[in-house]
Amino acid sequence: MSTMAADSKEVMVASRARQNRVTLRKTVVSCALLSAALLLAVVLMSLIGSEPLPAKASLCALVSLGTNSCGLTRDQFDILFQIRLPRILLAAAVGGSLATAGAGYQALLRNPLAEPYLLGISNGAAVGTMIALVFFGANEWTRPLLAFTGALLATLAVYRLARGRAGATPERLILAGVIVTTFLSSVIVFVTTLMDATRIRSFTFWLLGDLSGTSKALLPVAITIAIAGTVALTLNARSLNLLMLGERDAFDLGVEVGRVRVVVFVVASLLVGSSVAASGSVGYVGLVVPHLARLSLGSDNRITIPAAALGGALFVIVADTLARTIIAPRELPVGAITALIGAPLFIYLLKRA
C-alpha cells in the first residue's frame, strides 16, 4: 500500500517535472521567435519614415550601433538615431508594458475584458501625468511617478467598486471600469479647461496616444520598467495560473492570494503609469495582444505573459510606423491606429471564441 502511494507520488512528481520542462521549452522557443521578429521589426521600421533614407547605409549604421555613419549625412544620421530609433524603442516599451499589464489584469481578475484602457486605469495615469505637467512641468521624472499613483488609485477604485456583497462578477468589473473611466474623463476635461489654448491642442493629441514627443530622459525609465515588470509578472505566473481557478481554490492550493494581488496591482500600475506618462493612452493593446497570445500559445501565464510583452512591443511598433507614415509629413496619433486595428480584431476574436 505504502509503496504504491510512494510510487504514484514519484510518478506525479516526474510527470509534473516533465510538464514543466515542456512548458519551459515552449516558452523559450516562442519567446525566441518573437524576440527575433521584434528585432527584425525594429530594424525594418527604422528604415521607413516620412523622409527617405538610403536603406543600405542606414542598415550598415544600425548594425554598427551608430559607431559608423556608413556614408549617411549628418542630418540622415540624426534622423535615424535621434528621432526614429528612440521613438521605435519607446513604442516597444509602451506596447510591451500595456500588453503585460493587460495579461496580468486578465489573469488576476479572471476577466478576458480586463484592460488598462477599458478599466479606466490609463485615464487614472493620464490624470496623474496632467497634474505633473501643470504643476511640475519642468521636472520630467514627476510624470511617471504621478502617473503610477493615478493608475494605482484608479485600479483600487475599480477593484473596490467591482467587489460588491455578491463578489466581483465580470459584468460588475466592466461597469466599474466604465464608471471610473467616465469620471476620470470629466476630470481630464476639467483640467484641460484650466490650460491655455496651445496646450489644449497638444493634450487632445496626447490623450489619444502619441509617441512623437519621445523624451530622452523618460525612454530609459520606460524600457527598464517594461522589462522589470514583465519579469516580475512572469515570476508570479504560476500563482496566476492557479488563481484562474478561483481565489478560494487558489488559496487552498497554497497561493498567497493577497500578496499576488498586491504584486500584480502595483506592477501593472507601474507599467501603465510609465507608458501613459511617455505616450498618453494607447488603447486596445492590453486587450488584443494577450488574447492573441492565449489563442496561439494556450492559456498558461508562464508563456502568455512574456509572449504578450514581446507581441505588444511588435504591435505598437508597427502601428506607430503606420501613424507616422500614412499621411506623411503629417502624423496621426498612434492610439487611433491601435484602435482601428484592435477593435475589429477584437470583435473577430469574440465571435470565434
Partner: protein, 365 residues
C-alpha cells in the same frame, strides 16, 4: 428602457439630438405622437439626420422616460405652432451681404447689438468703430481692452447658446476657425443673423474688415482702414522685394510638433514677409508635423509665435531642430502670437515684425 442613456449629452445640439431620437422611438410605436413631434421639428428646423447613427434607441416595450419625452415634445410642438414674431419690421430695412461660407445673409440695416465669437472679429469690430455695439464676446477676446466690457459668452469652442440668445443680438459673427457651424441653424431659428468669415490669407482679412464694416454701417471707415493696412503691406513687400526668400519653419507648438500648413493665413503672411514656409504645401491649416521632416527641411529661420495671449509656453525650439541652420546661425525669432494667429487688423503688425526680423537690412534707413 434602453433609452436610459439619452440624457448624457450636455450641450444643446446634443440634447436636441437625443430628444429627436426619442421622438423617433415614439412615433415608431405610437403613431399619435408623430405629428406634433414632426410639427416641432419643422418649426425648429432641427438637423436630425445623422444623429440616429449614434443613438440607435429602439423602444420595444413601454417606457416611461420615452413617454415623458414625447409629452415634452408635444408641448414643445404646440408652443412652436404659435406664430413667430412678425419678420416684416426687420425685413423692411434690411440688406443682403454674402459671407465666406457662400451664404447670402439678410441683415438689418441698423445693427445695434452684435456678438463676436472670435478674437480677430472682436478686433475688427473695434477697428471699424463699432465697438460700442458689441454686446457679447468669447473669453479669448482680450483686445482692445474696451472689449472686455462686453458680456462673455464662453470660449470659442463652446459658447453658451442660452447666453447668446438672452443678449438679444441682431448679428452673431463667426469665424470658421472656431468650428461653430452647428450653432448657425439654432441662432437663425431665433431670428438672429449669423455671419461666417473664413480668411485664408491677408486679402481674406481685408475682406472680413470690409464685411464687418458694412454690417455695422461703417463701410467708409472699413475702407479707410483697409487702405491704410494695404499701404503698410505694400511698403513691406517693396522693402523685401529684391531679397532672397528665407526658408522659414513656423513652430506653433514643440511637443507635439504643430506647424502652419497650406490653408493657414500665416503662410501667406510669411510669403509676403520675404520668406517661404517650408511647410506651405502641407494640407490643412495647422497640421501635426513629422519631426524628421522638420529636421530634413533644414530651415534657415524659425518663427516662434509666443508671448501674447497664449503665454510664454512656445519659446523653445523643438528637439529635432536644435542643430538646424536656423538655430546654428541664431535666426530664431519670437513674435507676438496674437499678431500671427488672429486674422485681424493686427496681422499687418505681425507681417512687419516678421519682415524686420527676417530682413533687418531692408529696413535700415
Amino acid at each position: 428602457m434602453r433609452n436610459a442613456g439619452f440624457s448624457e449629452p450636455g450641450d444643446l445640439p446634443g440634447r436636441f439630438a437625443a430628444f429627436s431620437t426619442l421622438a423617433q422611438g415614439c412615433s415608431g410605436r405610437q403613431r399619435i405622437f408623430s405629428s406634433p413631434a414632426d410639427a416641432c421639428f419643422l418649426c425648429r428646423k432641427q438637423e436630425v439626420s445623422g444623429t440616429f447613427l449614434f443613438f440607435h434607441a429602439q423602444t420595444t416595450s413601454f417606457s416611461w422616460p420615452a413617454l415623458v419625452a414625447c409629452l415634452i415634445l408635444i408641448f414643445n410642438g404646440l408652443a412652436c405652432t404659435a406664430p413667430h414674431q412678425p419678420l416684416s419690421e426687420n425685413l423692411t430695412a434690411s440688406h443682403v451681404i454674402s459671407d465666406d461660407a457662400g451664404r447670402n445673409v439678410t441683415l438689418p440695416l441698423q445693427v445695434d447689438r452684435v456678438i463676436s465669437l472670435a478674437p480677430n472679429l472682436t478686433e475688427i469690430v473695434f477697428a471699424v468703430g463699432g465697438g460700442d455695439r458689441l454686446v457679447g464676446r468669447t473669453s479669448y477676446c482680450d483686445y482692445p481692452t474696451e472689449a472686455k466690457a462686453a458680456a462673455e459668452v464662453g470660449d470659442t469652442l463652446q459658447p453658451s447658446l442660452e447666453r447668446i440668445i438672452s443678449l438679444k443680438p441682431q448679428v452673431v459673427l463667426i469665424s470658421t476657425a472656431s468650428q461653430l457651424e452647428v450653432f448657425t441653424q439654432q441662432l437663425q431659428n431665433q431670428n438672429i443673423a449669423v455671419f461666417v468669415t473664413d480668411p485664408h490669407d491677408l486679402d481674406g482679412v481685408f475682406r472680413s474688415i470690409d464685411q464687418v464694416g458694412r454690417i455695422l454701417g461703417h463701410g467708409e471707415q472699413a475702407n479707410l482702414l483697409v487702405q491704410k493696412l494695404r499701404q503698410r503691406t505694400i511698403a513691406v513687400e517693396e522693402a523685401v522685394n529684391q531679397k532672397q526668400p528665407v526658408r522659414v519653419f513656423y513652430q506653433l507648438s514643440a511637443e507635439p510638433l504643430y506647424t502652419a500648413g497650406h490653408d493657414a493665413f500665416v503662410t501667406d503672411l510669411i510669403r509676403r514677409a520675404g520668406a517661404i514656409s517650408v511647410t506651405s504645401d502641407v494640407p490643412g491649416a495647422w497640421p501635426k508635423y513629422s519631426n524628421e521632416s522638420a529636421l530634413a527641411a533644414r530651415p534657415e529661420a524659425i518663427i516662434l509665435p509666443t508671448g501674447g495671449s497664449m503665454g510664454a509656453g512656445n519659446s523653445t525650439v523643438t528637439e529635432a531642430l536644435r542643430r538646424s541652420p536656423a538655430v546654428l546661425e541664431g535666426r530664431v525669432y519670437k513674435i507676438n502670437d496674437d499678431h500671427l494667429v488672429r486674422p485681424g487688423p493686427r496681422a499687418v503688425d505681425g507681417l512687419e515684425a516678421m519682415a524686420r526680423a527676417l530682413h533687418p537690412e531692408a529696413f535700415k534707413q
